[in-house]
C-alpha cells in the first residue's frame, strides 16, 4: 500500500448558516493524480482551500504529509507551504512582475543560489511547461490564457514540490490545449514523482489521467475510487455526471 499523503476525516464546513461539507472523508495516496469532482457549489474548491491552509473546517481533521492542519505551529506551516505548489484557476501570477520574476521570487526568497543558477532554473521551468524561451520577459497581461496556466504551473513547480494542487487546470483552455496540459501533468507526475490533487469538471481529464477521485454532492462525498469503481455505484448524482447527457462516458 502506498503512503497516504492527504487524509481528510469527518470534515464539516459551514459559511454562516450555509452548510457546505457534512462529514466528508477522502484519502490521497502517494504519486497518484487525484481529483475532486462535483457540480458548481458542491464545495470541491473549498475542500481544496482547506487542504492548502486558506480556509479552516468547522470540525474534522485534515492530515497533509503527516501533519494535522489544525495543530500546526507557524514554523511547520511554513515548511508545509514550501513542500507544495498551487496552481490557481486564473493563474494568479503577480501582474507587476514578468513571468521570470514571478518564478525567481521563490528562489530569491527561499534559497541562496547564485543569480546565474537561478536564471538557468527559471529557463528550465519555462521549457519544462512548454513555454517559448522569450516568455520569461513577458508580463502576465501579455500572455494568452493557456500561457498563463503554463506560467503559473512553472511557478508552482519552482521549488520541486512533492505535492501539486491544481484548481480547474483545464478550464478556459481549448480541447487540444486541455489534452496537452493533461499530458504534461501526467508526464510530470511520472518523472518527478509528484502527487497531484486537482479540482476539475473536465470528464476527459477524469477519463485519461486521473487515477482516483471523489465525487462531491449534496454536501457529502458520494463516491470515492477510480472511474470503474465510481461508475458501479448507483446514485442519481453519479448518473448525472457520467451516464446521461451528450458528454457522458459509458464503459
Amino acid at each position: 500500500m502506498k503512503q497516504i499523503i492527504i487524509d481528510v476525516r469527518d470534515v464539516v464546513t459551514a459559511f454562516g448558516e450555509h452548510l457546505i461539507h457534512d462529514h466528508i472523508n477522502c484519502t490521497v495516496r502517494e504519486n497518484e493524480i487525484y481529483a475532486l469532482l462535483g457540480g458548481s457549489g458542491s464545495g470541491k474548491s473549498t475542500l481544496m482551500r482547506e487542504m492548502i491552509l486558506l480556509e479552516r473546517p468547522q470540525s474534522g481533521t485534515i492530515h497533509v504529509l503527516g501533519h494535522d492542519l489544525s495543530k500546526l505551529t507557524p514554523l511547520e506551516a511554513a515548511g508545509l507551504r514550501r513542500s507544495w505548489g498551487v496552481l490557481f484557476q486564473s493563474g494568479a501570477l503577480y501582474s507587476s512582475l514578468t513571468v521570470g520574476e514571478n518564478i525567481a521570487l521563490l528562489y530569491n526568497e527561499y534559497t541562496d543560489l547564485s543569480p546565474k543558477l537561478i536564471d538557468e532554473l527559471i529557463q528550465l521551468k519555462i521549457n519544462l511547461v512548454g513555454l517559448p524561451p522569450h516568455a520569461k520577459h513577458l508580463y502576465p497581461s501579455q500572455l494568452s490564457g493557456g500561457m498563463v496556466k503554463r506560467a503559473a504551473l512553472a511557478r508552482a513547480l519552482a521549488l520541486d514540490p512533492k505535492l501539486l494542487f491544481l484548481d480547474e487546470p483545464t478550464s478556459g483552455l481549448d480541447p487540444l490545449s486541455s489534452r496537452q496540459f493533461d499530458a504534461l501533468i501526467q508526464q510530470l507526475r511520472d518523472l518527478l514523482g509528484l502527487t497531484v490533487i486537482m479540482v476539475t469538471h473536465d470528464l476527459d481529464t477524469i477519463h485519461h489521467i486521473v487515477d482516483r477521485f471523489t465525487l462531491l454532492g449534496e454536501k457529502k462525498a458520494i463516491a470515492e475510487g477510480n472511474l470503474r469503481e465510481v461508475l458501479a455505484i448507483d446514485h442519481p448524482i453519479v448518473d448525472y455526471f457520467f451516464k446521461k447527457g451528450p458528454h457522458g462516458i459509458t464503459c
Binding site: 501582474s95 534559497t111 543560489l113 546565474k116 538557468e120 528550465l124 521549457n127 524561451p133 520569461k136 518523472l191
Partner: protein, 372 residues
C-alpha cells in the same frame, strides 16, 4: 521521511585530469556548498563527473551540474559524465529534452527613443481625450432629442453620492481654510490697527478663490477617484461590453449622469463651503480681535460685492465638468490587469486637480482683463 545527506563534492586532480565525485542529496536546500566549490574550481583539461553516488537529485541539482558543465566546456575543458543512474537520467532528459536555450532580456531602448515615445503617447492621449469628449457630445445631442433616454434616477443617485455625502469633509476643509486665512491676516492687519479689514480679506478671498478651489480638490479626490474606480472595475469585469451588446450606451448610462450630477452639485457645494469658511473666519476674528459676529456680518454686506460671490459659484460647473470628464475617461482606459485600476485612479486625480488649477488661473487672467 528519509534522512538528508547534504550534497558533497570530492575533487581529485591527476595528470591532465580532474575527477569530480558527487555524493549525497543534490536537492535545492543542500546545494549551496557544492555551488561555491564549483564556482571556485580550477580544473585540469579533462574533467570527469562521477555521479553514481548521488542519492537524490532535483531540478536545481541537475541545473547546477549542467550549468557548471557548460561553463567549463566554454572555457575549453573536455567534460564527461560517468555513472548516471536511470531514474536520474529520466529527470535530466525531461528538463533538457530540447537543447538549452536562454533568451537574453530585450534591450532597453535609448533615452532619445523613450523621450520620443512618451511625447508621441502624450499627444495621442490628448487626441483620444478629445475624441472621448466628441463622442460624449454627439451622444448628448442625440439624448437631448430623445429625452426619454435621460437617466434621471442615475443623476439623482450621483447627486446624493457626490453632493450630500461629501458635505462633512467639505465642511471641515472649508472651516479650516477660513481659520487659516483669518489667523494669517489678523496678525498682519493688527500691526496697522486695520483689524476690521479681516472681513474683506476673508469674504473676498474665500468666496472668489479659496472655497471653489478647495471644494474642487476635495471632490476630485473623493468623487473623481470613485468614478475612475467604478468604471474601471466595470471595464475589467466586462460589464461595459455587456452594456454595449444590449444597446445601452456607456456615455448615456455612465458618463453623462456623473457629469450632470457633479455640475449640479458643485455650485451648491461651493456655496456651502463659502458659508462654513466665512464662519471659520468669523470665529477667529471674534477670538483674536474681539470682532462680534453681528459687526462682522454688517461689515461683510458692505465689503463683499455680489460679483465675487457669483464668480466663485460660476467656476463650479466648469471645475465639475473637468473633474467628471477626466475621471470617467481614465476609467474607460483601465485594461484587464489589476495594476491598471490603481494606475489610472492616481492619474485621474492628478490630472483633474491640475486641470482645475489651470482652469482657475485662466479665470483669474480673463476676469482681471475684463476688469471684474
Amino acid at each position: 521521511m528519509q534522512s538528508v545527506i547534504p550534497a558533497s563534492l570530492t575533487i581529485t586532480h591527476e595528470s591532465a585530469k580532474t575527477l569530480l565525485k558527487c555524493k549525497g542529496d543534490w536537492t535545492i536546500e543542500n546545494l549551496l556548498e557544492v555551488a561555491d566549490q564549483l564556482e571556485n574550481l580550477t580544473p585540469q583539461p579533462n574533467i570527469f563527473w562521477d555521479v553514481a553516488e548521488i542519492s537524490e537529485i532535483d531540478s536545481a541539482g541537475i541545473a547546477l551540474w549542467q550549468l557548471s558543465n557548460r561553463t567549463l566546456e566554454q572555457k575549453g575543458h573536455k567534460c564527461e559524465t560517468i555513472g548516471i543512474r536511470n531514474e536520474h537520467s529520466r529527470l535530466y532528459r525531461l528538463l533538457y529534452s530540447e537543447s538549452f536555450q536562454n533568451s537574453p532580456p530585450p534591450d532597453s531602448p535609448s533615452w532619445l527613443y523613450r523621450l520620443g515615445r512618451e511625447t508621441h503617447f502624450s499627444v495621442l492621449g490628448i487626441g483620444s481625450f478629445l475624441s472621448f469628449l466628441g463622442e460624449a457630445f454627439i451622444l448628448l445631442f442625440f439624448t437631448l432629442r430623445h429625452p426619454q433616454l435621460i437617466r434621471y434616477r442615475s443623476i439623482g443617485t450621483h447627486i446624493l453620492e457626490t453632493g450630500a455625502n461629501a458635505l462633512p469633509i467639505i465642511a471641515i476643509s472649508a472651516f479650516l481654510i477660513g481659520v487659516v486665512v483669518a489667523y494669517q491676516s489678523v496678525v498682519q492687519l493688527q500691526k496697522f490697527g486695520a483689524d476690521i479689514f479681516i472681513v474683506d480679506m476673508i469674504g473676498i478671498s474665500l468666496t472668489r478663490e479659496l472655497a471653489p478651489l478647495i471644494t474642487a480638490i476635495v471632490v476630485a479626490g473623493r468623487s473623481g477617484s470613485a468614478f475612475t474606480a467604478q468604471i474601471g472595475a466595470m471595464k475589467m469585469t466586462q460589464e461595459i461590453d455587456a452594456m454595449k451588446t444590449m444597446g445601452f450606451d456607456p456615455f448615456t448610462f455612465l458618463v453623462w449622469p456623473r457629469v450632470f450630477a457633479l455640475m449640479i452639485v458643485m455650485p451648491l457645494l461651493i456655496f456651502f463651503a463659502d458659508m462654513v469658511g466665512i464662519f471659520g473666519g468669523m470665529v477667529i476674528a471674534h477670538a483674536q480681535s474681539n470682532l462680534s459676529f453681528t459687526e462682522f456680518i454688517h461689515r461683510l454686506q458692505g465689503a463683499l460685492a455680489l460679483k465675487h460671490y457669483l464668480i466663485g459659484i460660476l467656476k463650479g460647473p466648469f471645475f465639475a465638468f473637468l473633474i467628471a470628464f477626466v475621471s470617467t475617461y481614465r476609467g474607460f482606459q483601465v485594461s484587464m490587469n489589476t495594476e491598471s485600476i490603481g494606475h489610472y485612479t492616481t492619474k485621474s486625480v492628478v490630472n483633474s486637480i491640475f486641470l482645475v488649477i489651470a482652469c482657475d488661473a485662466l479665470f483669474s487672467i480673463l476676469l482681471t482683463e475684463l476688469k471684474l
